[in-house]
C-alpha cells in the first residue's frame, strides 16, 4: 500500500482512529489543533461513530475523555503545552485513579515559541504524575506509538502522555498505516469505586499502587523498540550521545553515513536505565540533545555531578532556550561551522497582523480614540487574534498572560486604584476561562469595563467552534451583569461613533460593565461561503 502523506498531527489522529478510538475531546491550540480537526473530518466523511468535539477548555476536555475511558472505551485528549496547565488538576489525579479504556493525552509543546507565550517542556508533567511519556522522533513512529499506546495504556491501567513539538506536529512525511481495530464496548471495571473515588483512604492506596507501577513503566522503557542503543564497533569512545524525540533526526542529519559515536535514542520515558548505564560505561562524557528543557540532562548530571561529565543546555554546549536545529546540533557536536550568507539588511520584519476587515480592528480603533481622553487607562488583554492589538498601528493593550487573565487582572488592577481598567477578551477565551473571573467581578462590584470582542469562532487557530456562540449576552446576564450595563454592538465603521459613546459611558459608570461587539470572523465567513460553493457544484 502506498504510504500516506501525513502531518505529525494527522499521523497521530489516524493512528488513534485505527486503534479503535471512540472519542477525542480537546481545546484548539497551535500546534495541536490538526489532530482533532482530522478526526472530526474523518467522522463527518465516513459517518463513523467517533465523537470528535471541541470543549470549553482543556480541563473539561480531559475530564470528558476520562469519562469515556471510565466507561471502557478508548479516548484521546489533545492540547498545546500551556493547555495542560489548565487541565493539570485532572491530569495529576488521573494517575491516581488510573483509567479503564485506553487513554492518551497529547501535549504539543512549542520550543522557540512560534505561537505561544512560553516554551515549557511538558515531559515534566509526565515525571510529576509518574506516568509514561512517549516522544516519537518521526511521523511513522508517531503513528506506531499511538496505535500501540492504546493497548499499553489499557494493559497498565494508566494514561500515557504523548509529547510532540511544533516541528513534529507540522511536518509531513509518508506514513504506512495498519488495520483498523473495532471500538471497545461499554464495560465499567468491577473495582471502579475503589479507584475513581479519590477520598483520602482510597487515594493513599492508589498512590501506593502508582508507586509500585513504576518498575513496570521502567521495564517497558528498557524493552521499548523506540529506545535504541546504537554502539559502533570500537570499544572506547570519548563522547556518547543521548538524543530525545526529534533531536535524533538532527543528529542523523549530521552523520549521513552512520554514527561514529555511541548513541542512545530515547522516545519513551521513564528513562531506560539499563541502556543509559551501558552508554555511560562506554564513554567518558555524555552529550544530551533534547528539544525543550534540559530534563534528561539534569537527571543524568545529578546535583552532585558524581558520574561522567554531562554536556548539553546547562553547560552552554547548546543554548538554554530555543528549539534544536540541525545547525545548533552540528555546533554541539563540535563539527566545523557552515559558512552561510547573512540575511541582507534590506529585508524588513513582516509580523502577523489583524486581517483587513476584521471586527477586532474596529473595536481597537474605537477604544484607542476614547482612551486618549483617559491617559491613566490600562488595557488588560488575553490570548487570541486580538493579542495582535499589541502591535502597530494599534498598540492598544498592556498585558497578555494566560487564558482568561484579562478580566481578573483588570479587576485586581482596578482594586489597586487603576482607572479606567479595561479588559479585552475574545468569545472563545471568555467561555474557556473568563466566565469565572466575570462572576468574581460581579460579586466584588469591581469598577471595570470588559469588552468581549466576539467573532463567533476560535479565530487564531483557524476557526474552530466556540463554546458560547450566540449566547455570550445570556451568559453575562446569567452571571449577574446588570442589563443596563450589558451592551451588544456590531463593530463596523458605520457604528464607530456609537461604539465610542458606549465605551465612554461605561468607563464613567462605577461598576461592572460589559460591551460585546459581535461580528463573525471574516476568515470563517469566507470559508463558509467557499464550502457552500463547493457543495452546490
Amino acid at each position: 500500500m502506498r504510504k500516506k502523506l501525513f502531518l505529525g498531527d494527522e499521523a497521530i489522529a489516524q493512528a488513534a482512529i485505527d486503534a479503535g478510538l471512540s472519542g477525542v475531546y480537546s481545546y484548539p491550540g497551535t500546534p495541536s489543533t490538526e489532530i482533532t480537526e482530522y478526526i472530526q473530518n474523518y467522522a463527518a466523511k465516513t459517518q463513523a461513530p467517533v465523537k470528535a468535539v471541541w470543549c470549553s477548555n482543556e480541563k473539561t476536555a480531559m475530564e470528558t475523555a476520562l469519562g469515556m475511558s471510565y466507561a471502557g472505551k478508548r479516548s484521546l485528549s489533545c492540547m498545546k503545552h500551556v493547555g495542560l496547565n489548565v487541565a493539570a488538576d485532572c491530569f495529576m489525579n488521573i494517575s491516581m485513579s488510573g483509567i479503564n479504556g485506553g487513554m492518551l493525552i497529547v501535549t504539543a509543546d512549542d520550543p522557540s515559541m512560534h505561537s505561544s507565550q512560553n516554551e515549557q517542556d511538558n515531559r515534566n508533567y509526565g515525571n510529576f504524575a509518574m506516568i509514561p511519556v512517549f516522544e516519537p522522533s518521526n511521523q511513522q513512529e508517531a503513528y506506531d506509538m499511538i496505535y500501540e499506546g492504546f493497548d499499553l495504556s489499557e494493559r497498565w491501567g494508566y494514561p500515557i502522555l504523548v509529547r510532540i513539538t511544533t516541528r513534529m506536529a507540522h511536518s509531513r512525511a509518508g506514513v504506512a498505516t495498519r488495520a483498523q481495530r473495532p471500538q471497545n464496548t461499554v464495560n465499567v471495571a468491577d473495582d471502579s469505586r475503589d479507584r475513581y473515588i479519590l477520598l483520602p483512604a482510597i487515594a493513599r492506596r492508589r498512590f501506593r499502587t502508582l508507586l509500585d507501577k513504576q518498575d513496570t513503566f521502567l521495564e517497558a522503557s528498557e524493552n521499548s523498540k523506540y529506545n535504541q542503543l546504537i554502539l559502533p564497533d570500537a570499544e572506547a569512545h570519548h563522547t556518547g550521545i543521548v538524543a530525545c524525540g526529534i533531536a535524533f533526526n538532527y543528529l542523523q542529519e549530521n552523520f549521513p553515513e552512520g554514527f561514529s559515536n555511541p548513541v542512545l535514542k530515547i522516545s519513551q520515558y521513564p528513562l531506560p536505565k539499563k541502556q543509559l548505564l551501558k552508554l555511560a560505561g562506554s564513554c567518558r562524557e555524555i552529550l544530551v540533545l533534547e528539544d525543550g528543557y534540559p530534563i534528561v540532562e539534569e537527571q543524568l548530571k545529578g546535583y552532585l555531578e558524581l558520574g561522567p561529565k554531562v554536556r548539553g543546555r546547562l553547560d552552554g554546549t547548546l543554548s538554554r532556550d530555543g528549539e534544536l536545529t540541525p545547525d545548533n546540533v552540528r555546533a554541539a557536536l563540535g563539527m566545523s561551522p557552515v559558512v552561510a550568507t547573512p540575511v541582507p539588511a534590506v529585508v524588513a520584519r513582516r509580523p502577523p497582523a489583524l486581517c483587513m476587515g476584521c471586527g477586532h480592528r474596529d473595536v481597537y480603533e474605537a477604544l484607542n480614540e476614547v482612551l486618549k481622553e483617559y491617559p491613566s487607562a490600562r488595557v488588560f488583554s488575553d490570548i487570541g487574534c486580538y493579542t495582535l492589538g499589541a502591535l502597530p498601528p494599534f498598540r492598544a493593550i498592556d498585558t497578555c498572560i494566560d487564558m482568561g487573565a484579562s478580566i481578573t487582572m483588570a479587576r485586581g488592577a482596578a482594586e489597586a486604584g487603576i482607572y479606567p481598567s479595561v479588559a479585552v477578551i475574545g468569545d472563545s477565551t471568555f467561555t474557556h476561562s473568563g466566565m469565572t473571573g466575570l462572576l468574581d467581578c460581579v460579586n466584588a462590584d469591581a469598577n471595570l469595563l470588559i469588552i468581549i470582542s466576539d467573532n463567533e469562532t476560535t479565530g487564531m487557530t483557524g476557526g474552530q467552534d466556540s463554546a458560547g456562540t450566540g449566547r455570550i449576552h445570556a451568559i453575562c446576564q446569567g452571571l449577574g451583569v446588570a442589563p443596563e450595563h450589558l451592551h451588544g454592538i456590531v463593530p463596523l465603521k458605520k457604528n464607530f461613533l456609537e461604539m465610542k459613546s458606549l465605551i465612554r459611558k461605561e468607563i464613567e459608570y462605577k461598576g461592572v460593565s460589559v460591551i460585546v461587539p459581535c461580528r463573525e470572523c471574516i476568515q470563517t465567513h469566507a470559508r463558509k461561503v467557499r464550502n457552500k460553493q463547493t457543495v452546490t457544484i
Binding site: R167, R172, I246, N249, E253, T341, V346, A353, L354
Partner: protein, 190 residues
C-alpha cells in the same frame, strides 16, 4: 538524488499548494520526503515558509540546514531574501517579482533588486501578469512552480500528474488552467 527546497511568501499567498503539488509528484516518483510548514500566528499576513526535502534515501531532519537548500521558491521578492542563509553556493532563487506591501517600512524596490544583482542564479518573473495573460489569475503560484521545475530533480510529467491529482476534484477546466500555467512558467526565460 536529493533536493532541498525552501518555499517562501506571505500568509495567504498559497505557498502550501505549491508544496502539495511537489509532494504529490515526489510520492508518485517513489521518493522520500519531509515537509515542514508554519501554522498559527504567521497566517495573519506575516512571513511564512515551508521546508520541503525530497530524496531517494530516507530524510532525517524536518528542517533544512544552513547553506544547503538547492532552491528558494518565493511568491514575494523580499521574502526570498529572508532565507538566503539557507541557500547553498550555486543554488537557485525563483521568485515572483511583484512586492506584497503590507508593512509600513517595505524597502524601495531598487534596493531589493540591488541585492538580486549579487545573486548568481535567479529567475525573477511577474507570475501574476503571466497567469492573468493566460486567463487564470488564480494560478500564479503554479506559474512560479513551472519556472522552478527544471531545478527540482523531479520529471516534468510527474509534476503534471501532481497537478492532476491535487486539482482533479475541482474539475477538468481548473486542471487544464493549472497545466497551462505550469507550462507557461517553465517556458519563461528572461
Amino acid at each position: 538524488m536529493k533536493t532541498d527546497i525552501i518555499l517562501a511568501g506571505v500568509g495567504g499567498q498559497g505557498i502550501l499548494s505549491i508544496a502539495a503539488v511537489i509532494g504529490e509528484a515526489a510520492l508518485e516518483d517513489g521518493l522520500f520526503m519531509k515537509q515542514s510548514e508554519v501554522h498559527g500566528m504567521s497566517q495573519r499576513g506575516g512571513d511564512v515558509q515551508s521546508n520541503l526535502r525530497i530524496s531517494d534515501r530516507p530524510v532525517a531532519s524536518d528542517l533544512i540546514p544552513l547553506a544547503s537548500a538547492d532552491i528558494i521558491i518565493s511568491l514575494e521578492p523580499m521574502e526570498a531574501l529572508r532565507y538566503l542563509p539557507y541557500l547553498k553556493p550555486g543554488g537557485w532563487i525563483v521568485t515572483n517579482s511583484r512586492p506584497f506591501e503590507n508593512i509600513p517600512d517595505y524597502p524601495p524596490m531598487e534596493n531589493i533588486m540591488a541585492e538580486y544583482g549579487r545573486i548568481e542564479n535567479k529567475i525573477i518573473l511577474d507570475v501574476e501578469q503571466i497567469a492573468k495573460d493566460l486567463g487564470s489569475a488564480r494560478s500564479s503560484n503554479v506559474v512560479l512552480l513551472g519556472a522552478a521545475s527544471p531545478y527540482l530533480g523531479i520529471s516534468f510529467d510527474k509534476l503534471e500528474n501532481g497537478i492532476r491529482n491535487i486539482f482533479g476534484r475541482k474539475g477538468e477546466a481548473i486542471v487544464e488552467n493549472n497545466l497551462k500555467a505550469l507550462r507557461a512558467g517553465k517556458e519563461y526565460r528572461k
